[in-house]
Structure formats: structure tokens, C-alpha cells
């Protein structure tokens, strides 16, 4: 692991962009070799804008209009196996259609980057935000990052390429952000004035596949025809080697903890923007007695409510999870070990389970603490159900009541649903 390079903060300009546009601009600044995508709400604007950049000659990217998301991911697999930098975007049912190829991308160690404008999975058919689409593919071997606003989306898409292509990682990365709430909401986003800051200075030019030893010769891990020994991607891998290859993937995922932090720090020097340590983003947790845990845009609403409660003297803080895969259990333990009560807010369905995915894993992360805090689960905002400050105030009041012994703790509650 090399030391973080020292960057000067690069010149930037402020433009009005929604989350989708911010993604498209980030992708434009990266200039992937191949973008293959199929439109699906609320991701459509990403590909729409990017195709305009291609048409306007702002990027030399090969843009592939495919007939389905299954093909989009397959084309990205081909492009990345050939040694290229590949990017795509999707949401909801599109992501589910890709599912099979997601495992192939991660097992073939292809550093593809994909933006997900998180949307409820049909049915009943719904185009609005929740995290159920991403949660359905959480074990596909992809790194999964969750953003809070359009600015973070721009920053994270750029970071994602560097994380994915790190020789100690070489795993695909999913950049998640709330459909409509972020994807279609405009804000002032700072972007680099010169795309070469991203392409050349940060990413160091075109992707360079790693070298491996094959039959005594050094070859590039790609389908490069100049390889002295041809490399085959994706042959049969049975009980005699599959397990070893999965073990290698696990190692890469373990390395990703360090690399996500490292790349985040390098990028912070270049941009002047930080998101916690890159894995988790704590807010007013130092002296907190009650903590809330959440992913995505709801974190902003919660900070607003927390500030109000702090003025009332209630010691409440927030831990936003930025990396869901690899799951930062050590950081969660470190940040929440002193807290008495934790409310985990899941924006995903949890059919037939004890609680939402974020709740289950957060609670599991805290199990090894000698002095375990109480952890309760709130499921909110399914299918784009509004999550205003009032909704969280009600939940926070309840957490205060639990912490003072006025009401009994529970395991899981649905909030914002009509009884």
C-alpha cells in the first residue's frame, strides 16, 4: 500500500446539476472506454446526458445502446475483460435483470463502475425511491457505496473507478443514490474545470490491467491479443478451484476497506471535500447517548432534526453508512460503542426477516461489544413514501422514550405507513 499522494486542490466550478446529471458529468470527466446502458427511470438522465456528450464529441467513449440490462452488463464485462474502462447505470428491475452477470463481473475481477438510482422493485410497480433494488444484489461481490446528495454522487463515481481498478481490489463498484430524491433534484455541484484533473492526474490515464504469470510468462490480465500466452476469461471452474477463487475475492473485499479510505483521502486532497473516513460518516456522535443509523438522502433530513434535538439538550447523533459492501463493522463498533440506544433506519423491504438489511448487519456488528447497546429497527420510505423531518421526529421521540424507560424497546416498526 503506497502513501497517499499529496494533491493540491484543483480548480473547480459550480454548476446546477441533479444527481443523474452529476453522474453523467463524473463519467464524462473519467471518459470510460465503453458505456453500455439501457434506459430505466430514474436513471435515464445519466445515459441521456452521456449520449449527448458522446454526440458532441466531448468524450471518445464507445457508446453501446443495448436491448436490455442483461446485455448492458454483459457488454461491460466484455469491455472490461478486454482491458477497458467500462461504465453503466441502472435501477430497480433493470438491476434485477442484470443479477446473473453481476456475479460474473465480480468473479472475473472486472473493475466496472455502475451508478444505481435506487428505486423500489416491482411489484406492485413503482418507480420511486427505496433501497430494495440494491439490497437484492448485496451479496453479488460488488463494492457498494451510498451517497447523500448530487455532489457526493459526482465525487463518488470518480472515486469508484480508482477503487475498482486498484490491483489489491479489482472488483466492480456500485454507486447508489436515492432515485428522484437525489437523481432528479438539482443542487449546486462543484465539478473540476479541467477533465484532465480526473483522467490524467487522479486516474493516471487509461486503465492499466495488472500483470500475472501464466506458464512462466508475464501476461496482462486481459484479452489483449499481444499477450504471449492467450488469457481465457470465464471457463468452467469446478470444486477443485472455485473455492480458491472465491477466497481470493474475499481477500479483495477485505482490502477494499483500506483502499476506499485511501482513495477517499486522495480525492479529498484534490477536491477539498470529505465524507467521514470514506466508509462511515459520523455526526455529533462523540457524546451521544442515542444514535441513529441510515444510508442515503435521509441523512440530511436527520441531521436537521438532530440539530433541533441537540438544542433541546437531547444527546443524539447520526452514523451514515457510506460503504455497505464491504460492510464497515469495525467502524460501526468504534463509533457506536459508547451509545446506549440505536435506531437503525432501513429504506428497504424486509419480508420474512427479523428486520431490514442495515439493521441486521449493524446489530450483528455490535454483538461483540461487552456493553451492547439496544438496537431497534425502523422501516421507512418504501416506494418513495415521503420521509419529512416530522416522521423522524416521531421516531426520535420514541427513541428518547425508550432510553428513559417510558416505553419498552421493540425489534422492528414500520413508520410512515397508514394503519
Amino acid at each position: 500500500m503506497g502513501k497517499a499522494k499529496i494533491y493540491e486542490v484543483a480548480e473547480q466550478k459550480e454548476v446546477l446539476l441533479n444527481g443523474d446529471e452529476a453522474t453523467a458529468w463524473a463519467a464524462m470527466h473519467v471518459e470510460p472506454d465503453v458505456v453500455a446502458a439501457y434506459p430505466i427511470t430514474p436513471q435515464t438522465i445519466i445515459v441521456e446526458r452521456f449520449s449527448e456528450f458522446v454526440a458532441d464529441g466531448l468524450v471518445r467513449t464507445e457508446f453501446v445502446s443495448v436491448e436490455s440490462e442483461h446485455s448492458a452488463m454483459s457488454a461491460c464485462v466484455g469491455a472490461a475483460a478486454a482491458g477497458g474502462r467500462a461504465f453503466t447505470a441502472t435501477a430497480a428491475n433493470g438491476l434485477q435483470l442484470m443479477n446473473e452477470i453481476l456475479y460474473i463481473a465480480s468473479s472475473l475481477r472486472l473493475p466496472i463502475v455502475m451508478a444505481i438510482a435506487n428505486r423500489a422493485v416491482s411489484g406492485p410497480i413503482n418507480i420511486h425511491c427505496d433501497h430494495s433494488d440494491a439490497m437484492n444484489v448485496r451479496d453479488a461481490g460488488w463494492i457498494m457505496l451510498f451517497c447523500e446528495d448530487a455532489q457526493e454522487v459526482y465525487d463518488t463515481v470518480i472515486q469508484a473507478f480508482k477503487i475498482a481498478e486498484n490491483p489489491r481490489v479489482l472488483l466492480p463498484v456500485m454507486v447508489n443514490f436515492d432515485g428522484f430524491l437525489i437523481s432528479h433534484t438539482a443542487q449546486n455541484v462543484k465539478i473540476f474545470k479541467d477533465p484532465n484533473v480526473v483522467r490524467e492526474r487522479f486516474l493516471g490515464g487509461p486503465r492499466k490491467p495488472i500483470k500475472i504469470k501464466l506458464m512462466g510468462k508475464e501476461v496482462e490480465l486481459s484479452l489483449n491479443p499481444k499477450n504471449p500466452i492467450p488469457v481465457t476469461f470465464g471457463p468452467l471452474d469446478l470444486y477443485d478451484y472455485y473455492f480458491e477463487h472465491k477466497r481470493q475475492q474475499l481477500e479483495a473485499m477485505q482490502n477494499a476497506y483500506e483502499i476506499i479510505k485511501e482513495v477517499h483521502e486522495e480525492y479529498a486532497q484534490l477536491s477539498g471535500r470529505r465524507y467521514g473516513n470514506g466508509l462511515v460518516v459520523p455526526y455529533k456522535l462523540e457524546d451521544a447517548e442515542i444514535a441513529v443509523v441510515v444510508m442515503g438522502s435521509a441523512a440530511g433530513t436527520m441531521r436537521y432534526v438532530i440539530d433541533e434535538y441537540r438544542e433541546k439538550g437531547i444527546k443524539i447523533g447520526l452514523l451514515r453508512i457510506r460503504a455497505f459492501r464491504p460492510f464497515p463493522y469495525n467502524d460501526i463498533m468504534e463509533n457506536l460503542k459508547h451509545v446506549k440506544l440505536i435506531g437503525v433506519f432501513d429504506r428497504a423491504q424486509d419480508q420474512g426477516v427479523m428486520g431490514g438489511p442495515l439493521f441486521l448487519e449493524t446489530r450483528a456488528a455490535l454483538y461483540d461489544l461487552v456493553d451492547r447497546p439496544q438496537v431497534v429497527n425502523y422501516v421507512f420510505g418504501l416506494g418513495g413514501r415521503d420521509a419529512p423531518p416530522e416522521l423522524f421526529k416521531k421516531a426520535f421521540d420514541e427513541l428518547v422514550a425508550i432510553s428513559t424507560g417510558k416505553i419498552k424497546p421493540f425489534i422492528k416498526k414500520y413508520i410512515g405507513v397508514r394503519e
Partner: protein, 99 residues
Amino acid sequence: MSKKKPGWKEIPIAGVPFLSSLEYKTGDWRVFKPVIDDNKCIKCLLCNIYCPDMAMLVKWDETGNKPLGVYVNYDYCKGCGICADICPVKAITMIQDER
């Protein structure tokens, strides 16, 4: 018979093959192995013809015209038992392979 296979730290990532197919010994798949009784064998070579893995080999005399017997290439014999089934004099028996 087979060498110890390399561990996850020793093989290239991404599931790319790192050996020639000739070095991939499918004999590892075997549970039962064929054993030939040379005294019973009538050298009809049906086992050689029927073997789907070309693992039942013929030993020829120096003229190359007369078969002296058959023997098994255990590197590639998957133990399917077709040879034992096809043998007209029951000269081949399948026994539990111990590796």
C-alpha cells in the same frame, strides 16, 4: 496419484486458466477405477474403442501390428466403467479408488 493442488495465494485471480489443458488431469474426478486382469484379456480392444476419454491404451509389439495388451492412463480415466461393461470376457473390474 495427483500432485497437491496450489492454494488461493498461488494461483492467478479472476478464474483464468493457468495450465495447458493437457495438464488438467480429469482423472481426479474418478471414484472407481478399472483394473485389468491380463490373464483373462483376449486383446479384442473393444475397451480402447469405447473409452470416451481415450484413457484405455494399447501396448503394441515392436512391429506395431499385434496388440500385447491394454493399460489405463489414470491421469484421464474418469472411472465411468464403460470398459468394464463392454468387456466380453469380464477382464475389467471396477474397484474403489484410493487416493
